[in-house]
Amino acid sequence: MNLVYQTVGQSIDKKDGRQRLRGEPLFSADLELENALVLKVLRSSKAHAEIESIDSDAASALPGVVQIFTARDIPGRNLMGIINKDQPLLVVDKVRSLGDAVALVAAESETAANAALQAIRVDYRDLPAVFDPQQALTEEAPLIHAEGNLLCRRDIIRGDIHAGFAAAAVIVEQTYQTSFVEHAFLEPDAGAGYVDSDGVLVIHASTQNPHYDRSEVSGVLRLPKERVRIIQAATGGGFGSKLDVNCQGFIGLALYHLQRPVRLVYTREESFLATAKRHPLTITMKSGVDSTGKLTAAKVRILCDTGAYGSYGIAVVSRAAVHALGPYALDNVAIESLGVYTNNPYCGAMRGFGAPQAAFASESQMDLLAAELGMDPLKIRKINALRPGSVTVTGQKLEASVGYLECLEAIEPYYQAAKAEWLPAQVPEYRRRGIGLGGMFYGIGNTGTKNPSTARVVMDQTGQATLYTGCADIGQGSSTVLIQILAETLGLEYENIQMVAADTGRTTSAGATSASRQTYISGNAVLDASKKLAAILCSLGARQLKTAASDLVLRKGQVQDRRDPSRGISLAELAALARKQGIELFGEGRFDPVTTSLDPETGQGDPYATYAFACQLALLSVDVLTGEVRVDKVVAAHDVGRAVHPENVKGQICGGVAMGLGFALMEAFEPGKTESLKDYHIPTCSDMPEVIPLIVESEEPSGPYGAKGVGEPALIPTAPAIANGLALALGERITTLPANLERVLEAGLKAGLFGA
């Protein structure tokens, strides 16, 4: 079914792109509210300590200080978290990590607020702290939460690993370690709010999930949901961190008590200190293959350090397990994935939810196995690739849109050329070249849980359509894609479509902008809404054109007879007619992907309705005397089902490669040390390789116009591709990320390359 579409598949102007270039959209920090107070948060300087007292008398008496809030001022449930609620808005009797929120200051000016922060006296009594997740699981470890340090576990058991390993010709086992990673989005967290004339607390914020924010803030304040309205301000990136309630709760608390406009803008340092990080994972993986290169068994143990709070930890633990072995068919597996509390900074969602860490391990294993067999790394991937009809480790049979082999085939010419020409080229003695492959699959949407989206399309009396969606576009372009889906379905010009997005006062929930789900899930909700409106328009048109509604299509702003396009009636005319007849023109849509929850013991089930696939090839060179790595080129093939907006897809791929490169080579957040972008290094344009994005379209039957998702998949294969390239270049494998100068040099030394 390869129809020609009008807007789907076209890289139309990005919604609000011009306004952004002109600097017009208002970010939270830009909102000018009359007479607004400044909020600042006093943060813990201890990793684990009891609070004996908080003395804010002196601070309260300072000029310009309006009020200082502590946990006692919270009227509702002082616990937050989207999956499990364990994180207080303001700590009650103890702090569990550096940066925990201890008190909230409201003041007339920034200066006054800062002075108050200095003047609040907190008496701490230090508690023993634990920073190693393995240690946190021991008997002697200090308890971080009363229920114990084990947050959760996910097991996946399938087949018989003993038989599987017995059938293996080669077995390799290795432990992999990744680091804490900071999202480093462009816009530090911010928000501003006021109380409107109906007494509703209106909060504008930089967020990825306004509807969740509303339920959390109303819970903390013990207010009915209708009394809180969250509006997403223009948002400068999130990458998962803005799925947590960061500023919104504080703003709500101050509004509740003071009934005066307030604003809260994190500094970069505060955003580094006090928001979630990517979970560091320790992954021990044992894998076996038979002599033909077919995987026979795998045993995996994953330890996820979630730091002081759960945030999205449970999702990361589960997703890391499901994705632990990559896009390969395997009958015998035993995977154990544990989420553990420590006194480290709390970890949450970050682009990929554990899949990038898992891919680093599993793709390294694929190369190790290939090397042991003397087999080409591309070949072993092809042999084991999931394909239509394959069964995943959770026992899910994949029916359609399984484009991994197609991705491998798209990469192959580049791979063969690199192997034949680039790799053997003459380079100075101290340089070594390497090429590496990284593959991945990624389940779209939440893991084995409901995650519906809704949408509403309304047509006014002139035939103009407006889309109401709760979906927060954080820069990735979901608004554009949703408008394309609507325009395509209703045969409208996309330029004329109005949009109201991510405002809990005016839109219904679209769920989180996470898990690469908005194109697929909210796209389907918009499709559903648009189709319902289309049906009304066709039935109205049918009466006018005296044909069966089933013979009508929506095209070019008209309802037309599909056999004779000259027979048509404009939507403007139909809309006017509908108004006369008192018919409201709207469609309400909903979509929830078909999934089943995973069995608690065996992890078997169908956790996702569809999966994205990808393979990337990295070409790199290493200075073996200094450990410097230059990634020269990344070829990235991504099966996105259908690229509704190809340039957006390419943008996601290039950005994903940048983030993946940082994860692979330089990023490691160290609390108290890497305080800002000065010390925490993310790649610059000078560090970027040439990126060649290859879009693979293995259409997803249940996707809107065949689409799946690409946001997170873009990043996942990069680090493994680089790690495998490094291993080839050095003759020694690096199993701890980031592969910084010292680790690369050390690997070279081990391989005997340091000839200085």
Binding site: E110, T626, K673, D679, T684, S686, L741, L745, A756
Partner: protein, 291 residues
């Protein structure tokens, strides 16, 4: 984050500037490009009540080629060090240092004087300046005094500059025909980085027998200040340049440094890299002579 309040002066002459410095003493801070000062003021690390802009000091932003010396005004922009033909022709290692500094945005603001006076152990310009034997001209109401750059640094952020003094110029002898110099830096990313280590070397060969007549080696980020690597220099002095000799010099340089471990890099790594860097900058210097 807003800056705290301060008075602002824009003197038009060095004399006027020195007078202000004398009158207000420790409470005043000179402002050149501000890429270091503004960051520290925002952080509250320094809190001057008066800021003395050097922008209008016309005589301070020139690069002059004199008979035997080159004189670089303290307010010369780092970007200008890259573009200027005199620098490119006669002081290529300084040009290399300038190219390694920050990003285009920073280089269009940052000055050579600010880079020296901020006295960061890892700064990109001092190593090259040290190996060219630079002198700094320090001006107070009493007039100018000249100090060897190698005697200028006292510790991180510490120099011999007195509170009533301004750095006005950097003076260097014009390197002879049979000389060359090189600069290299190492960091986790390609640009906009605080170097884990950097270094420079200068070689002048005896035209008759090709032995090393004059040598200077300098290193950054391996000690509290940029340093001269005297053991490496001793190993090279009077010898005939060769691969082996450069390797030896590199090893000797390891003894010249006292690096620390921080989150950017370990002491052992820094030490090991000293040899590689020293060898490479010596090779660059030699290549220039052979050109």
């Amino acid at each position: 984050m807003l800056l705290p309040k301060f008075e602002y002066d824009e003197p038009r002459s060095i004399e006027e500037a020195c007078e202000t410095l004398r009158t207000f003493g420790e409470t005043v801070k000179p402002l050149a490009g501000g890429t270091d000062l503004m960051v520290n003021m925002k952080k509250g690390v320094v809190r001057p009540s008066r800021v003395l802009s050097l922008k209008k000091l016309k005589t301070c932003n020139r690069i002059e080629k004199l008979d035997a010396t080159i004189r670089i005004g303290a307010c010369t922009l780092v970007a200008e060090l890259i573009q200027n033909q005199v620098i490119a022709d006669t002081l290529p290692a300084l040009q290399a240092g300038a190219k390694a500094l920050g990003s285009p945005l920073i280089r269009n603001l940052a000055t050579i004087g600010g880079n020296i006076c901020s006295a960061r152990p890892a700064a990109d310009l001092p190593p090259a300046l040290l190996v060219y034997g630079a002198r700094v001209v320090l001006h107070s109401q009493q007039g100018p005094r000249t100090v060897l750059l190698k005697d200028f640094f006292k510790g991180p952020g510490q120099t011999v500059l007195r509170g009533d003094e301004l750095l006005t110029a950097i003076e260097l002898d014009r390197p002879p025909a049979n000389s060359g110099a090189g600069y290299l830096n190492l960091g986790i990313r390609k640009v906009q980085d605080i170097d884990i280590i950097n270094g420079a070397a200068y070689l002048a060969l005896n035209p008759r027998d090709g032995t090393i007549e004059k040598v200077r080696v300098a290193l950054g980020a391996v000690a509290p200040t940029p340093i001269r690597a005297s053991l490496a220099e001793q190993a090279l002095q009077g010898q005939k340049p060769s691969q082996d000799l450069f390797v030896q010099a590199g090893q000797a340089a390891q003894q010249d440094c006292t690096p620390i471990t921080d989150f950017r890099g370990g002491a052992a790594y820094r030490k090991a890299m000293t040899s590689v860097l020293v060898r490479r900058v010596l090779e660059t210097a030699l290549k220039q002579i052979e050109k």
